[in-house]
């Protein structure tokens, strides 16, 4: 009997496919998310848009938030640790978090090293904005990926950019010759063996979700079209006028992302979505996607 194997960690993410993972800040929101059909929840003290508004240093949540949420739902509960902060990650593992997000939404704790995720029994999800980042995170042990997008903006443009870039780079790698692959591995800063795997299979070896700006059912469906295996929704649900309706609608649009009549139906009378931010209005220091490398 073996725990924490790569198959068990990656397999857990496979079971989330076609699903929606929702940010929640307390037990009550977690119950709403579960009832709406979320496949997992991310327990946080503040959603990304509030983190933006508050400023200062964003850290791992108070453990009582995670504990409260774990008590009331039967679906998996995820939690965020700062980039490189392996003690926060150990604490979350000890508390029983089902998945840890080493996340750029929090203020990075290490500007050089990401967490050595292979050393943990609990699986990790990490953000990536291009194929290089994606494969570096996998090399470190990430069992699931997500686009970085631009969290807390309610603006899908960056998630679209990152998903399109990653799939475009995969197509390019598929068409390289063996000798060109060595050069490309150096260019991207990734291990040759991982790049060879992408070259042969035409896909990433782990599940890749969309994240960072999903605010409407159509946003979720768009990301599924672009090749996402599922969707993280952060501020998009509990910063909207009617969280319960938005949550249900986004779940259905993710399942039936090619059924436009259905998406039209579930998009009716949802009320006001979260207020968004135009990306060009963000100062360089406010761009969360530039954290990590």
């Amino acid at each position: 009997m073996e725990t924490g194997t790569s198959r068990v960690k990656r397999g857990m993410a496979e079971m989330q496919k076609g699903g929606v993972i929702m940010d929640v800040m307390n037990a009550e929101q977690a119950k709403i998310a579960e009832a709406a059909g979320a496949t997992a929840v991310m327990a946080l003290e503040r959603v990304p848009s509030d983190i933006r508004a508050a400023g200062g240093v964003a850290r791992m949540a108070d453990p009582t938030v995670l504990e409260e949420v774990m008590k009331v739902v039967s679906i998996p509960v995820m939690a965020k640790a700062r980039i490189g902060h392996y003690v926060e990650a150990r604490v979350l593992e000890a508390l029983g978090a089902d998945y840890i997000d080493e996340s750029e939404v929090l203020t990075p704790a290490d500007e050089v090293f990401h967490i050595s995720k292979r050393d943990f029994t609990v699986p990790f999800v990490c953000g990536a904005k291009d194929l290089g980042e994606a494969l570096r995170r996998i090399q470190e042990g990430a069992a699931m990926l997500r686009t970085k997008g631009e969290p807390g903006t309610g603006n899908i443009v960056e998630a679209v950019r990152h998903m399109r870039l990653i799939t475009g780079q995969i197509r390019k790698v598929q068409n390289l010759s063996k000798d060109e692959l060595y050069h490309e591995a150096k260019n991207l800063g990734v291990p040759y063996d991982l790049l060879l795997d992408v070259h042969q299979t035409g896909k990433l070896p782990v599940v890749n979700f969309a994240a960072g700006g999903v605010a409407t059912p159509s946003d979720a469906a768009l990301m599924m079209h672009l090749g996402a295996d599922g969707v993280f929704v952060g501020s998009g649900i509990f910063k909207s006028e009617y969280p319960e309706r938005f949550a249900r609608a986004i779940v259905e649009a993710t399942t039936h992302y090619t059924d436009y009549k259905l998406i039209a139906e579930v998009s009716k009378n949802l009320g006001t979505p979260m207020k968004g931010i135009e990306i060009s209005k963000l100062a360089p220091s406010e761009r969360m996607q530039d954290r990590g490398f």
């Binding site: 009997m1 924490g4 194997t5 397999g11 079971m15 059909g37 496949t39 774990m70 089902d98």
Partner: protein, 194 residues
């Protein structure tokens, strides 16, 4: 044999790959009308609460019960096993209520307790590699349910006539024998009908 994989949420592609490797034809099923053309149905792993809700929403509860009434085989893995069960421990409502058994969700604990192991299964020669992820257990079965394997004394594979259920994920390995076993069930059902 054409086997559908219920594609509302969960590990659909893996089951399709395994069915094809075992010599069948695998298709994703998103609408109830698509059930008609099938010789068998797989309900995959995923989140049982999500899959159950979406099944209700799109009329799959009644449609799959009708499918079962025709004697066509159904295979549930992990969440799929929960969806098939008559009773779920600690819950008032169950989903399809087709297999006469009581199941416990997340019976091994949280994700850090998830594991893989070699598991002997009745009807299959050598042990299969079984991947348990936040897996359920079968706590009680009716006499009409055949227990195909146990782990630490608890039931993890069971068959009741044309219904098959496993707590673990055969679709996450390169071992296609359980899928071949299910294909044989579909062939028997098709032959019996003809």
């Amino acid at each position: 044999m054409k086997i559908g994989v219920l594609a509302l949420q969960g590990a659909v592609a893996e089951h399709i790959r395994s069915i094809e490797a075992a010599g069948g034809e695998g298709v994703a099923v998103k609408r109830v009308e698509e059930l008609d053309a099938l010789d068998g149905l797989i309900i995959p792993g995923g989140e049982s609460t999500t899959i159950g809700k979406l099944m209700r929403k799109y009329g799959f509860i009644e449609a799959v019960r009708d499918f079962s009434k025709q004697g066509k085989p159904i295979f549930g893995t992990c969440a799929g096993l929960i969806v098939l069960a008559e009773r779920i421990e600690g819950q008032e409502d169950a989903h399809l209520q087709l297999m006469d058994m009581t199941v416990a969700r997340n019976a091994f604990g949280r994700q850090r307790e998830s594991f893989e192991t070699d598991l002997p299964v009745k009807g299959i020669d050598e042990p299969v590699r079984a991947v348990f992820i936040r897996a359920p257990l079968i706590k009680e079965v009716a006499p009409s349910v055949d227990v195909l394997s146990t782990y630490n004394g608890e039931i993890v594979t069971a068959r009741q006539g044309h219904l098959l259920a496993s707590s673990y994920h055969p679709e996450l390995t390169d071992d296609y024998r359980l899928h071949a076993y299910f294909l044989d069930m579909a062939k028997e059902a098709a032959a019996a009908k003809a």
